[in-house]
């Protein structure tokens, strides 16, 4: 297997964490391992349950690359911080972030789109944000 032994599972290559900064702002981070990248236009974020809702994520500009099939696309490497406007989130309650992403490794493999869920807490009125919650890898490797 040419590209196999040193590759990370997707959830370790693209480490997701998030926290609710205040009832109107969600902060989502992807810590992308060296040699891997995420596609900007494949990032999707939403929250549940209603009445909590999210607006369009404020995606920072990425690195523009020319894709033979899809044309100009933007990619992210390293750390990406995305702010997502929230509405209807009540202070002191919980909400679930649903974050979709898709990326590849420079060695020439791509991971299928993945959807991850994170249970987050909306800070109580006047309280500081909770520490970021990290996504737990879905499939644990026997070797880790």
């Amino acid at each position: 297997m040419a590209a196999g032994p040193n590759l990370l599972p997707a959830e370790q290559a693209f480490r997701l964490s998030a926290r609710v900064l205040d009832p109107s702002t969600l902060e989502v981070r992807y810590n992308i391992a060296d040699g891997y990248y995420l596609y900007r236009d494949k990032l999707r974020m939403s929250v549940e349950p209603p009445p909590a809702a999210s607006g369009a994520p404020l995606l920072p500009p990425g690195q523009v690359i020319e894709d033979a099939f899809f044309g100009k696309v933007q990619t992210y490497r390293g750390l990406v911080v995305v702010r997502v406007p929230l509405s209807g989130a009540r202070p002191g309650t919980g909400l679930t972030l649903v974050a979709d992403s898709q990326g590849c490794a420079d060695v020439g493999v791509c991971y299928p789109p993945q959807s991850q869920r994170l249970a987050l807490k909306v800070p109580a009125a006047g309280a500081s944000p909770e520490p970021p919650v990290e996504a737990v890898p879905a499939g644990k490797s026997f070797f880790n």
């Binding site: 297997m1 040419a2 590209a3 196999g4 590759l7 599972p9 997707a10 494949k42 894709d67 033979a68 099939f69 898709q102 590849c104 490794a105 060695v107 020439g108 493999v109 791509c110 991971y111 299928p112 789109p113 026997f142």
Partner: protein, 176 residues
């Protein structure tokens, strides 16, 4: 217990622990067919093509099959496919059969197939194809993943990541 009994007990415990770890390792690792083993999990399936018509892999029994798991959202997959088209054209009469298994939807697959004048079947596997590739050794479930099956239906080669032309030519040269 005297000293030698303790030593014997300790030794047996160590053997038991090692055996337990070994068994644990065998059962925890995915069941990956190795080269030379039957590719039954792959050659026994049928998947729809881009027109929705079911295509059984058994129709290519007796040929050297290069089954390539791919998707349009996978740039490295798309990059190696024109080379597959060329090799399919050059070696079809010797019994080489490429089969693309797309982890994708039919519309995008059809569009890309037209773009590169795909001359081998593009089957639509959806996410189930990812699970199938896992049983064939793609434990990371990433793409492209390619399984080469010999004329007897045995796995001759599996590879995660793109194939180089000289490497693929060498492998199929041995099998044709």
């Amino acid at each position: 217990m005297n000293a030698w009994r303790w030593a014997l007990f300790g030794g047996l415990a160590a053997v038991a622990l090692a055996a337990g770890l070994w068994v644990g390792r065998e059962t925890l690792l995915p069941d990956t067919p190795r080269v030379g083993q039957s590719a039954g999990a792959l050659v026994g399936i049928a998947l729809p093509d881009v027109d929705g018509k079911s295509q059984a892999m058994t129709q290519w029994s007796g040929k050297v099959i290069v089954a390539n798991f791919w998707a349009t959202w996978c740039a490295p997959c798309r990059e190696e496919m024109p080379m597959f088209v060329r090799l399919q054209r050059e070696h079809a009469d010797k019994g080489l059969q490429f089969v693309g298994i797309a982890v994708d939807d039919a519309g995008k697959v059809r569009q890309f197939a037209q773009e590169i004048n795909l001359n081998y079947p593009a089957l639509i596997g959806g996410y189930g194809a990812m699970e199938l590739s896992k049983t064939l050794g793609n434990s990371l479930m990433a793409l492209p993943f390619t399984v080469i099956v010999d004329r007897q239906g045995r796995i001759a080669h599996t590879q995660l990541g793109p194939l180089k032309e000289e490497q693929l030519t060498r492998i199929i040269g041995h099998l044709l």
